[in-house]
């Protein structure tokens, strides 16, 4: 690869990293797994003068449940999520999505948090986080703020993270004791970005839906939270009719564009089919 010239920093502590970001602002780019940033630099679509490689900072690779939520550190790789016991047993939506992200080579390097920061509307994790009502913890020399994912994802390839901030971790609320979820992805081949992706999550109590989450990938300028569909589900019991209604509402929430992967009508209909299939699959395999 023959990128433009850049200055490379590999800080050994979080403090150094935050100081570099404070000093360089918009000139600096954080390098995590590099699976999105490096392709852009290779094609010279991005030419950041300063690279702040966070890979040597200790303590950012934690996956742990703590204080009522799951914490996923900035250096947790997609591969680690795929293999995490706590995630496979307690966060089925994440567990289903992880192996669908690209291929093992990309998953070995790419990070969960980096994917959120990249804010690609075709990225899978944004939809998962929307379905699960997650948030991102941003840190700067000025302090820390917790940004709900819906506010964090701002547009195609833009987040509300400031240039001086590092996303140190993502948080996902505790799913409770009766829950289910999955992720469905339509791709042209393994390793392709989603034509359509659908994240679903259901928390139930004695058969009644107490919480519902539906996130959509590839069908809008950002990942989309299908709020009306979620609301339709909450308080109901899962039935074919309710599933069809939620699927219809989710399809209405989609705002796809016609492109080489298919027409807008097609993608909208796949949202409908996939939300229905996802909810059915989730309802059939609850964790309690």
């Amino acid at each position: 690869m023959f990128p433009s010239q850049f200055t490379y920093h590999a800080p050994a502590t979080l403090g150094e990293a935050l100081a570099l970001l404070a000093e360089h602002g918009d000139d600096a780019k954080v390098l995590a797994g590099g699976q999105s940033l490096i392709p852009l630099m290779k094609l010279r679509f991005a030419a950041p003068p300063i690279i702040v490689d966070i890979n040597r900072i200790p303590g950012l690779d934690t996956i742990a449940e703590e204080g009522g939520s799951l914490r996923v550190g900035a250096l947790v790789r997609n591969r680690a999520i795929e293999r995490s016991d706590v995630i496979t047993s307690r966060y089925p939506t994440m567990a289903a999505a992880a192996p669908m992200i690209s291929d093992p080579v990309v998953r070995n390097q790419g990070t969960f948090v980096g994917s959120l920061c990249h804010a690609d509307p075709q990225g899978d994790w944004g939809s998962v986080m929307l379905a699960l009502d997650g948030s991102v913890v941003a840190r700067s020399v000025a302090g820390e703020r917790v940004i709900p994912i819906g506010e964090f994802l701002d547009g195609p390839f833009t987040s509300t993270l400031r240039a001086d901030e590092l996303a140190v971790e993502a948080r996902v609320p505790d799913p409770g004791s009766e829950f289910a979820g999955t992720y469905l992805k339509l791709e042209r081949k393994v390793g392709d970005f989603a034509t359509v992706g659908v994240a679903v999550f259901l928390a139930t109590s004695g058969g009644t839906v107490t919480k519902a989450g539906i996130g959509l990938t590839g069908v809008g300028a950002t990942n989309i939270k299908a709020t009306a569909a979620e609301q339709a589900l909450v308080g109901g019991t899962v039935s074919d009719a309710l599933i069809e209604e939620a699927a219809r509402l989710a399809a209405e929430a989609a705002d796809p564009r016609t492109d080489i992967r298919g027409s807008a009508d097609y993608k909208r209909d796949v949202v409908r089919v996939y939300v229905a299939r996802g909810l059915r699959a989730a309802a059939a395999t609850p964790v309690a």
């Binding site: 023959f2 010239q5 042209r188 080489i260 992967r261 009508d265 089919v273």
Partner: protein, 789 residues
């Protein structure tokens, strides 16, 4: 699957039909190959190419002063500079012209506009950004239909006498006889389809290292070329360099698939730069450069009409084709046939009459039209007829296997002259079809399909058949030439005193296993074990002249030459053996690797003993040595055939589909190394699946290419590539010295139609008759929703 064998055994004597492990693999597996990128010369410079962002624009000015001022930049080469040396344009392999670097206009997005030559590649790329080109955008012509409309912008205004965007009009077959056949038909079915622009996408992109020695004038050029000898001659003609001073070396090549047949601007500019600067210049293409600018394939808009009688017998075929050539007619194909071998569109069927009308049009896209794993446009022909037969089967309510069988050219009709002028050397199609049907469990799969239809299942089943025949191994010199050079090929064999040998060929493999297969041919003829034979290809100073490796031509041409030169040496060996054994030549018998005296089998001379004597104790009056050279002009093409059957499962709610079973029965005549043949077939099936399922070099309405990287131009992985069940029948070629036919492309040519037929068959009960490639899930869904029901 075949088992690997390293030596003759009592059960399998000799070297033919043996799956000898590939001799070349040791160096590839150990990372000790030698590719163009591995060539590093002292004092070497690096070149990078600036490409046009527009599909069609006038170049107002190019300012390279800032780039020249960047430390490390040695030269910025523009079209204007090349024009001073009469090198701004070059001929294509189809006799058109193509810009080396644009002078007047750019005519496709990605066209080469300027080159930077610098001390390293980073500097070269930095300098590209400093070149300021002032473009005046022009309306882009992005379809051949639009190109031929009145008032369409003239793309080739550089060419004297070119008043529109038409490239060629070419016809084959008999129009009147075909009209008559249609007039007498009970049924006429038709299909309009588009075979999209695809790309060979070899893993190694193109590149070269050009080293013109300022003292001797000798130009040594390491180049990713499938046809180094032809390139040498083209360089001599274009650059005016004396041919003895040009040495083209194709080192190891990381895949070609037709992409590495043409001459590309990068090669020419790097060579010119080395000549002007007096230092070696290396150019290594990147992926985007490869996909956006180098030889594409297909891009044919086709309509076929088939006339049948009431019983399903085919009476006539009428075909119209419009080819999107890009801005230059740069097909790598025999000059006599303007649309390649597309007129072999009657396939495996005994069609009494056929008429093929073809037109080519310029568009604002990259030039190419290379034979991507295909005998000159035969892929498109095979696809059309195999799709059309399936459409006919649905329309007349016949089983597609039956319809094929009853229309096959019959074994007693060979040699068979087709309605468009091919003489098929041999064939026996029904047994291959029957074996494939048996292996796929045809009756059971059809029953399962019916059950799912009756149940209205979400996942429907489809069965797609393609019974293809192709014409390959170009070719007989009376019909086949490229830029006038006849398409013979050659072999030179030298047996060393110790009985080892070197075989030098005019072809150039890129992964096909020549170093093993051709060694086996010599082993078969002379008994020297393949491990004792070095096969050398690719260096024009050290191999006999030949047209290179593509269009499945190596075994039909150079393979034949290798067998025949070995036989010539065997006759010389007989004379030496007779001398050594003090008997008459007629008293000797040849077996495997030795001559023995008839009736006295203990009196023998092995080939190794004879070779030694050829240098140490040869008969008076005979030349010493044991070597020879053979140029082989094949009497005909070879006609391999196959039946491919795909069973696909289609999700009618989303259009997603998966091939659940793929059966391939290939007949390529005699197999020299079955393992290598099977490798070729598996690779071909994978590429067939890729084209059917996902590949397309697409353009938007402004002519922007939206398939210029591997996130957009899709290569299937092991995950979605189906499992293949391979079988074979054997109908030897009657004219090839070993009975072999080409096989490198059969599966790429034949299988796309089988995949598409399977998907269409799965939803034909919903009224779907056609889905164009790539059969993305969205297209299946859209076809279902658009169908009359």
């Amino acid at each position: 699957m075949t088992t690997v064998e390293t030596a003759p055994s009592a059960e399998h004597p000799g070297w033919m039909g043996k799956s000898v492990p590939r001799i070349e693999d040791a160096r590839f597996i150990a990372g000790r190959g030698n590719y163009v990128e591995d060539v590093v010369l002292p004092n070497m410079l690096h070149m990078a190419i600036l490409r046009s962002p527009y599909a069609h624009a006038r170049i107002v000015s190019i300012d390279s002063s800032a780039a020249m001022a960047l430390p490390g930049v040695v030269a910025v080469v523009t079209g204007a500079l090349l024009a001073e040396h009469k090198l701004a344009w070059m001929p294509t392999l189809s006799g058109d012209t193509q810009a080396v670097l644009a002078t007047d206009k750019v005519r496709f997005q990605g066209q080469e506009v300027a080159c930077v030559v610098a001390e390293d590649r980073y500097v070269a790329h930095d300098a590209l950004e400093l070149i300021v080109v002032d473009y005046e955008p022009l309306p882009a012509v992005v379809t051949p239909q639009a190109a031929l409309e009145d008032g369409a912008p003239l793309i080739r205004d550089d060419k004297d006498g070119q008043v529109d965007n038409r490239v060629y009009h070419w016809e084959a077959g008999d129009a009147a006889a075909t009209e008559a056949a249609f007039a007498g038909a009970d049924r006429v079915v038709s299909l309009t389809t588009f075979y999209p622009r695809s790309h060979p996408a070899p893993l190694e992109c193109c590149g070269c290292v050009a080293d013109v020695n300022p003292a001797s004038g000798k130009a040594t050029i390491w180049m990713t070329s499938q046809a180094p000898h032809a390139i040498r001659t083209v360089f001599a003609l274009v650059a005016g360099l004396p041919e003895q001073n040009i040495q083209i070396i194709s080192p190891d090549i990381g895949g070609g698939f037709g992409n590495k047949v043409p001459v590309y601007p990068g090669y020419v500019v790097a060579t010119a730069a080395s000549l002007l600067i007096g230092r070696p210049v290396k150019w290594i293409e990147d992926r985007t450069g490869n996909l956006i600018s180098t030889g594409f394939a297909r891009d044919f808009h086709m309509t076929g009409e088939l006339a049948l009688d009431g019983a399903g017998k085919m009476l006539g075929l009428r075909v119209k084709m419009l080819s999107d050539q890009g801005y230059a007619y740069a097909d790598a194909q025999p000059s006599k046939f303007r649309a390649g071998l597309f007129h072999m569109v009657t396939g495996s069927y005994d069609l009494p009459a056929a008429h093929v009308v073809t037109d080519g049009a310029y568009t604002n896209k990259a030039p190419g039209g290379v034979a991507y794993r295909c005998s000159f446009r035969i892929t498109e022909a095979s696809y059309l007829i195999e799709r059309l037969v399936d459409v006919a089967a649905v329309e007349i309510g016949m089983d597609p296997a039956e319809l094929r069988r009853m229309n096959f050219v019959q074994p007693d009709q060979f040699p068979y002259r087709s309605a468009t002028g091919f003489v098929y050397d041999s064939g026996d199609y029904a047994p291959a079809l029957d074996l494939a049907l048996e292996q796929v469990g045809y009756a059971e799969v059809r029953a399962e399909q019916q059950a799912r239809r009756a149940a209205g299942a979400t996942k429907q089943l489809g069965i797609g058949i393609a019974s293809m025949t192709e014409a390959l191994g170009a070719g007989p010199s009376r019909d086949y030439d490229i830029l006038g050079i006849k398409m013979f090929d050659s072999a030179e064999l030298r047996v060393h005193p110790t009985g080892k040998a070197i075989l030098k060929l005019g072809v150039r493999h890129q992964g096909q296993g020549h170093e093993t297969t051709f060694a086996q041919i010599v082993a078969h003829e002379l008994g020297i074990p393949p491990q004792d034979i070095v096969v050398q290809e690719g260096d024009t100073d050290n191999t006999p002249y030949g047209l290179g490796t593509y269009a499945s031509r190596s075994t039909p041409t150079a393979g034949a030459a290798a067998a025949l030169v070995a036989r010539t040496l065997r006759e010389k060996a007989r004379k030496i053996a007779a001398y050594l054994l003090e008997v008459a030549e007629e008293d000797l018998e040849w077996e495997a690797d030795r001559f023995s005296v008839k009736g006295a089998p203990e009196k023998v001379k092995t080939i190794q003993e004879i070779a030694f004597a050829a240098y140490t104790n040869h008969p008076q009056g005979m030349d010493a040595g044991l070597e020879g050279v053979k140029y082989y002009d094949p009497p005909n093409l070879t006609f391999p055939f196959a039946t491919y059957i795909v069973v696909a499962e289609v999700d009618v709610a989303t259009g997603e589909w998966t091939p659940v079973k793929v059966v391939a029965v290939d007949d390529c005549g005699v197999r020299i190394n079955p393992m290598i043949v099977e490798g070729q077939i598996m690779g071909g099936l994978t590429e067939g699946y890729a084209m059917a399922a996902m590949q397309q070099i697409a353009f938007d309405e402004d002519g922007n290419c939206i398939g210029s990287n591997f996130m957009d131009y899709l290569i299937p992985t092991a995950m979605e590539t189906p499992h293949f069940d391979l079988f074979d029948t054997c109908t030897p070629s009657p004219h090839h010295p070993l009975g072999c036919k080409g096989v490198g492309e059969s599966a790429t040519v034949g299988s796309p139609a089988a995949f598409v037929n399977a998907v269409v068959d799965a939803v034909s009960h919903l009224g779907v008759r056609n889905i164009d490639m790539p059969v993305l899930s969205s297209r299946v869904w859209e076809a279902i929703h658009a169908a009359p029901g």
